[in-house]
C-alpha cells in the first residue's frame, strides 16, 4: 500500500444516455469505438511524450464505456496538473475533430462534447491479490479525492467555456504557480449527492499552452488545424476552440511558417471577442498580434487592447508587461518605468520588471 498525492482526471461523453437512446445500437457502438480509440491514442501518446513511465509507477489510466480515468502521481504535483489540463484540452480537441463529430458538423447538428473534471488529492494504491489472479497486476487506486473528482466532472454540463471543471485543491495550486497559464471562473458551490456539503467548483476559462497542438499524436495531427478552423465557422462554436486556434496561429507566426497568418489570426481574434465570454486572454492575444504581426503591426491598437484587458482585470500581469514594453518602445520612459513598477507592486519577483527597474536606476 502506498499513499500518493495524485492529480485525477475524469472525462466522459456528455449526453451519452440521450445519444444511446437516439442512435441505433450499431451507430452507438461505432461512436464508442471512435471515442475509445481517440482517448487511447491521445492519452498513451501524451504520457509517453511527457516522460511518464506508466504501468502504475507514476501514472495509471483506463477507459471504460464512455468514461476515461487518468491518475498522475509523478511526485511533482505542478507537472501533473499541467499535464492533466493538457490531456483534458487535447481529448476535447481530438473528439471535436473525430469522424463522428465531423459527420455531425457536416449535418449542421450540435457536436458531441466531452465533460472533464480534474482534482488533486491523496489516494492509496494497493495491488489486490484477486486482480493479480486475473492477470491485472496494476494497483487499485482508492480515495475520497476520486469520488469528489467524479462528482466535479458531472458538473461540467453546467460549464459554458471549456467545460473542464476543477476542485478547490487544484484551483489553489494553480493560483500558487503562475507557470500554469490557466484562469478559472468564479466558484460555483454545488451540493453533490452523498457528500452532504457545498463543494466549490471552478471552470477553466482560459488555458494558454503552445503544446496542445504540437504534442498531438501524429496520426491525429493531419488536417487537424483545418478541422478546427471549420469548427469556428460553425454557428455555435465552442469558446475554448478560439483560444487553442489563436495560440497555434501565434506559434506559426513565430516560426515564420506563413507570412499572412497574422491577418487570419486577427480576423479570428475579432470573431472570438464576440463569442468568448472570458475576454482578457483574447484582448492580450489581439494586442500581441498588433505588436508582433508583420502585416498588422500597430502599437497604438496593441496598447488599446492591453488597456481593454486591464479594464477587466487590472492585475493582469501579461497586459501590464506588454503595455510597459509598448510605452518603452514609444519612447515614453517615465510612463514605462511607472508601468514596470506597477508590475512589481503586485509581484515583487517578476524577473522582467525587476531587470527593467534596475536598468532605469543605473541609467540615472
Amino acid at each position: 500500500m502506498k499513499e500518493s498525492n495524485a492529480t485525477i482526471l475524469f472525462a466522459d461523453l456528455m449526453n451519452s444516455t440521450e445519444l444511446a437512446k437516439n442512435l441505433s445500437l450499431q451507430e452507438y457502438d461505432d461512436m464508442l469505438g471512435d471515442f475509445q480509440g481517440i482517448m487511447f491514442e491521445v492519452v498513451s501518446h501524451h504520457l509517453d511524450y511527457f516522460g511518464y513511465k506508466g504501468n502504475g509507477i507514476d501514472s495509471e489510466w483506463s477507459i471504460s464505456g464512455d468514461e476515461l480515468r487518468v491518475f498522475l502521481y509523478s511526485e511533482n504535483i505542478y507537472f501533473d496538473i499541467r499535464n492533466a489540463l493538457l490531456i483534458a484540452t487535447k481529448i476535447k480537441l481530438a473528439w471535436l475533430s473525430s469522424n463522428f463529430n465531423q459527420k455531425v458538423l457536416s449535418e449542421q447538428r450540435l457536436v458531441s462534447r466531452i465533460g472533464v473534471g480534474i482534482n488533486c488529492g491523496k489516494v492509496i494504491k494497493d495491488v489486490r491479490p484477486w486482480r493479480v489472479k486475473i492477470g491485472k497486476a496494476e494497483p487499485n487506486i482508492e480515495g475520497y479525492a476520486i469520488n469528489l473528482t467524479k462528482r466535479i466532472e458531472s458538473a461540467s454540463r453546467e460549464g459554458n467555456v471549456y467545460q473542464i471543471m476543477v476542485g478547490a485543491s487544484l484551483y489553489k495550486r494553480c493560483q500558487q504557480n503562475s507557470q500554469i497559464n490557466v484562469t478559472f471562473s468564479k466558484p460555483k458551490s454545488l451540493v453533490f449527492k452523498g457528500l452532504g456539503q457545498k463543494i466549490p467548483v471552478y471552470e477553466v476559462t482560459s488555458f494558454v499552452n503552445f503544446e496542445i497542438l504540437s504534442s498531438m499524436p501524429v496520426s491525429l495531427q493531419k488536417g487537424l488545424l483545418e478541422k478546427i478552423e471549420n469548427t469556428v465557422r460553425d454557428a455555435m462554436p465552442e469558446p475554448w476552440v478560439f483560444i487553442v486556434l489563436l495560440r497555434s496561429y501565434i506559434s506559426m507566426l513565430n516560426s515564420n511558417n506563413d507570412e499572412d497568418i497574422d491577418l487570419k489570426a486577427l480576423q479570428i481574434g475579432q470573431q472570438a471577442l464576440e463569442v468568448v465570454e472570458y475576454k482578457p486572454v483574447i484582448y492580450n492575444i489581439l494586442g500581441w498580434l498588433h505588436i508582433n504581426g508583420k502585416n498588422v503591426r500597430n502599437l497604438e491598437m496593441a496598447f488599446h487592447y492591453f488597456d481593454q484587458c486591464l479594464g477587466l482585470q487590472p492585475k493582469n500581469e501579461a497586459a501590464l508587461l506588454n503595455r510597459a514594453r509598448i510605452l518603452e518602445e514609444m519612447g515614453q520612459s517615465d510612463l514605462a518605468r511607472h508601468a514596470y513598477q506597477e508590475i512589481l507592486f503586485q509581484n515583487q519577483q517578476h524577473p522582467v520588471a525587476r531587470r527593467k527597474i534596475a536598468e532605469y536606476q543605473s541609467a540615472q
Binding site: S178, V208, F210, E211, I250, S251, N254, V281, W288
Partner: protein, 169 residues
C-alpha cells in the same frame, strides 16, 4: 748439187735465203753482244744502287739515332712532368679513395638512420592513417552528436520562447 747445177731460177732464191739467214745470225750475234753489254751495265748500276742503298740506310740509321737522341733530350722534361702528374693523380686517387671511405663510413650509419626513420615514418604514417580513419569515424559520430545537441538546443529554445509567449498572453 752445185751452184752450177742449180736451176737458174731457184738458184737465186736459195742465195737470197742464205743471205737472209746469214744476216739473221749476224743480227743475233749483235743483239746478243749488245744484251751482254747492257746486262753488265745493269749489274754495275745495281751494285752502285746497292752501295747507295747501304749508304742511305746508314744515313737513315744515323738520322734516326740523332732524332731518337734529340727526342729523348726533348721528352726528358716531359717525362718528368708526366711522372709528377702521375704521382699527383695517384695522390688524388688515394685521397679520393680515403674520402670515399670516410664518406662511406659516415653515410653508412646515416643511411641506416634514414632507413630506420623511413620505416618509422611509414609505420607512423600507417598509424596516423589508422588514427585518422578512426578519428574520422569518431568525428562523424561527434558531428552527429553535436547535430543532435543543436537540434535539442533548438527545441529547448523554441520551448522557452513559446513558454514565454504563453505567459505574455
Amino acid at each position: 748439187m752445185t751452184l752450177g747445177e742449180l736451176p737458174t731460177g731457184g738458184l737465186y732464191i736459195d742465195l737470197g735465203l742464205g743471205i737472209v739467214v746469214f744476216l739473221l745470225l749476224f743480227y743475233e750475234i749483235a743483239v746478243h753482244h749488245r744484251t751482254r753489254k747492257r746486262i753488265a751495265e745493269f749489274e754495275k748500276t745495281i751494285v752502285t744502287f746497292q752501295h747507295d742503298q747501304e749508304e742511305v740506310l746508314k744515313n737513315l740509321e744515323d738520322k734516326a739515332n740523332t732524332v731518337t737522341n734529340m727526342l729523348f733530350e726533348k721528352t726528358k722534361p716531359l717525362a718528368n712532368k708526366l711522372n709528377e702528374l702521375s704521382k699527383r693523380a695517384n695522390a688524388i686517387l688515394e685521397r679520393s679513395e680515403g674520402f670515399r671511405r670516410e664518406l662511406e663510413d659516415k653515410v653508412g650509419p646515416l643511411q641506416a638512420a634514414i632507413d630506420d626513420t623511413n620505416a618509422k615514418v611509414n609505420s607512423s604514417h600507417d598509424a596516423v592513417r589508422k588514427m585518422v580513419q578512426e578519428g574520422k569515424s569518431e568525428i562523424e559520430r561527434m558531428a552527429k552528436e553535436v547535430k543532435g545537441f543543436a537540434e535539442e538546443i533548438q527545441l529547448m529554445k523554441n520551448f522557452i520562447r513559446d513558454g514565454t509567449i504563453d505567459l505574455e498572453l
